[in-house]
């Protein structure tokens, strides 16, 4: 486990994996400055696809819509999820365990099955595909992540300062704002980021529940990929990668670890049992 050759082999594997992950991304950024319509060679530098993206392309409006939509879902998920995590602290351990099982369902069930069963439900009650259906569908797949991440904070945090604040004359509302909220805020933030990204990206749920003829960014990209090479998509990809880099750097500066962001806080609690 400690010999030099072994360590080199392991490191080589790591770099190969990283290369595998990043070559396509780097290639797409590279191609976003290529003049050829169909992404072929020879390579001629241009920025015209960026101009297209910001002027005539339908990708940007879809991206903005997806972003607004994701924010809306995130806000609701964080509020409802935090309430839920707070309330769970007052469950008996046995009941909390049962509740946890149900809470994990939307994580464990493949999104496609969730989406189909929701489509059945909404058709049954007469709503069918609609923005409300899509909103609720996205909400239910991100809610468990928020609850689990915030609950993790509650489990880890020391609850006595809350009692101390109450004895110093703080009303329950003040206790929450002054003591509880600062302690659980990192969990809410991580849950919110998780929810935001998942909503922004969730193709499957949106594909089944969006009103016919409407598009979010994922559904639009899906249709566009199927049709033909679209150089403005390269430009958008490059921009999104750039944003992701900035976000990730920001988050690590704020002290988040990769595991805590993906909902795996201390170990592998996410899967539970």
């Amino acid at each position: 486990m400690t010999s030099k050759g072994f360590r080199r082999a392991m490191l080589a594997c790591m770099w190969i994996v990283l290369a595998f992950m990043y070559i396509p991304i780097i290639a797409i950024i590279f191609m976003s400055f290529n003049k050829t319509q169909y992404g072929g060679f020879p390579y001629v530098f241009t920025t015209k696809w960026y101009t297209t993206l910001f002027t005539t392309s339908n990708l940007l409006p879809a991206a903005m819509f997806s972003l607004r939509f994701a924010f809306l879902v995130t806000i609701v998920a964080v509020v409802v999820g935090t309430l839920c995590a707070y309330g769970m602290q007052y469950y008996t351990p046995k009941f909390a365990k049962r509740f946890n099982t149900i809470l994990q369902l939307p994580i464990i069930i493949p999104w496609m099955v969730t989406a189909i069963s929701l489509l059945l439900l909404f058709s049954f009650i007469g709503v069918g595909r609609s923005y409300v259906s899509m909103f609720l569908g996205n909400l239910i797949v991100v809610l468990p992540y928020v609850v689990l991440l915030v609950n993790g904070r509650f489990v880890d945090m020391d609850r006595t300062p809350e009692s101390a604040a109450a004895l110093l004359g703080a009303s329950p509302g003040r206790v929450f704002m002054d003591v509880t909220l600062p302690a659980i805020a990192p969990g809410m933030l991580a849950g919110g980021i998780m929810a935001l990204i998942m909503c922004f990206n969730n193709f499957v749920i949106q594909y089944y529940l969006i009103p016919v003829g409407e598009n979010t960014l994922p559904t639009l990209v899906f249709t566009r990929i199927r049709s033909e090479y679209q150089a403005d998509l390269n430009a958008l990809s490059a921009i999104i990668v750039l944003i992701a880099v900035v976000v990730v750097i920001l988050l690590s500066k704020l002290g988040f670890s990769a595991g805590s962001l993906m909902g795996m806080g201390g170990g592998n609690k996410k899967e539970g049992n």
């Binding site: 006595t160 009692s163 604040a165 004895l167 004359g169």
Partner: protein
């Protein structure tokens, strides 16, 4: 300043009856210790007094006003927690001033009183420090300042010293007691450490299994333990088994080999009894002196303050502790004679 009275508190968690009807009273300005092993219900009493826990029945009165149903934030009771319970998101001044802010005291008044309180706990100038940068002892002082700065009617201390190391702990014992005398706040102190309770308190209540085992001032509790549990919990007491006997109006414990005089408080001749005697109450004497009993010294251990002499009084094991010079002459595996005054012997029927 106010007196505290607690009437017939009962509390169960599930099937477990934690408090089985506890009543006591603390005079205004006094320092009361609730002493007992873990699980005896002492912390629960504290949590009921401050309102963090609700009793199943019974009442809590401050200056004869029933506060049993008052919400914790309206009780004006200060509390220091075992783990300090400081607010990690605030600096020292914000922590200490929190209660004043809740009382809507003006900011410059808050600043003044916070500095005063910090001076009082010897942390002058610590206002802008982050809580996490402080040592355990310093955190505890901040917690104390925070609890006292609002001038509470009652101060509750929930094992505040148990997380500190020995030296800091002794210092804090002294300081807390001093501060309490100075301010005169009625204080209830919870601890499982008998030495701490004995050094700090005006009054001690010994709890066992949800009941009061004994209450009184430290000296009485120590020298006159009312039960076998009390004698054992408050420092190591030796238990001697024997029969109650009476000769010419004087009462004794005898087991054939030893004969110890005691003050009769009940029972008749021939009763099986157990007597509790503390090792430090024995004195060495000549054979044939009044009350002399044979003691075989088997092992002597130096503990710093005194010698611990392990041996047998008659046939029964006995730990005697003796101060410095006298004991250093004694040799192991030799027979000596010891005696004890009758007022230092407490006995129980078995």
């Amino acid at each position: 300043m106010a007196g505290l009275r607690v009437n017939d508190l009962k509390k169960s968690f599930g099937d477990h009856e934690v408090l089985k009807g506890v009543s006591f009273e603390v005079e205004s300005g006094k320092f009361l210790s609730l002493l007992g092993p873990s699980g005896c219900g002492k912390s629960t009493i504290l949590r009921i007094i401050c309102g963090l826990e609700t009793a199943d029945s019974g009442e809590v009165l401050v200056d004869e006003t029933d506060i049993t149903r008052v919400r914790p934030e309206k009780r004006n009771i200060g509390m220091v927690f075992q783990n300090y319970a400081l607010f990690p998101s605030m600096n020292v001044a914000k922590n200490v001033g929190y209660g004043l802010k809740m009382q809507k005291v003006a900011q410059d008044e808050i600043n003044r009183r916070v500095s005063e309180a910090l001076e009082m706990v010897k942390l002058g100038g610590y206002e802008t420090r982050r809580v996490r940068q402080l040592s355990g002892g310093e955190q505890q002082r901040v917690a104390l300042a925070r609890a006292l700065v609002t001038r509470p009617n009652i101060l509750l201390l929930d094992e505040p010293l148990s997380a500190l190391d020995r030296k800091v702990r002794a210092e804090m014992q002294y300081e807390i007691r001093n501060l309490q005398r100075q301010i005169g706040t009625t204080t209830v102190f919870v601890t499982h450490d008998q030495e701490e309770a004995l050094t700090m308190s005006d009054q001690i209540i010994l709890l066992h299994d949800g009941n009061i085992e004994q209450q009184g001032d430290p000296h009485t509790i120590y020298s006159q333990p009312a039960t076998i549990f009390a004698s054992d919990f408050l420092g190591k007491a030796n238990l001697l088994a024997g029969k109650l006997a009476c000769e010419e109006g004087n009462w004794f414990l005898t087991d054939g080999k030893v004969k110890i005089r005691l003050n009769h408080v009940g029972g008749k001749e021939g009763d099986e009894i157990k007597a509790a005697v503390r090792g430090e109450y024995f004195e060495f004497c000549e054979e044939g002196a009044e009350g002399a009993n044979p003691f075989r010294l088997e092992k002597k251990i130096f503990t710093g303050l005194a010698w611990r002499l392990i041996g047998r009084l008659g046939n029964q094991p006995m730990d005697i502790s003796a101060l410095g010079t006298a004991a250093s002459e004694l040799e192991e595996d030799r027979d000596y004679f010891v005696r004890i005054r009758p007022e230092n012997v407490v006995y129980y029927n078995v």
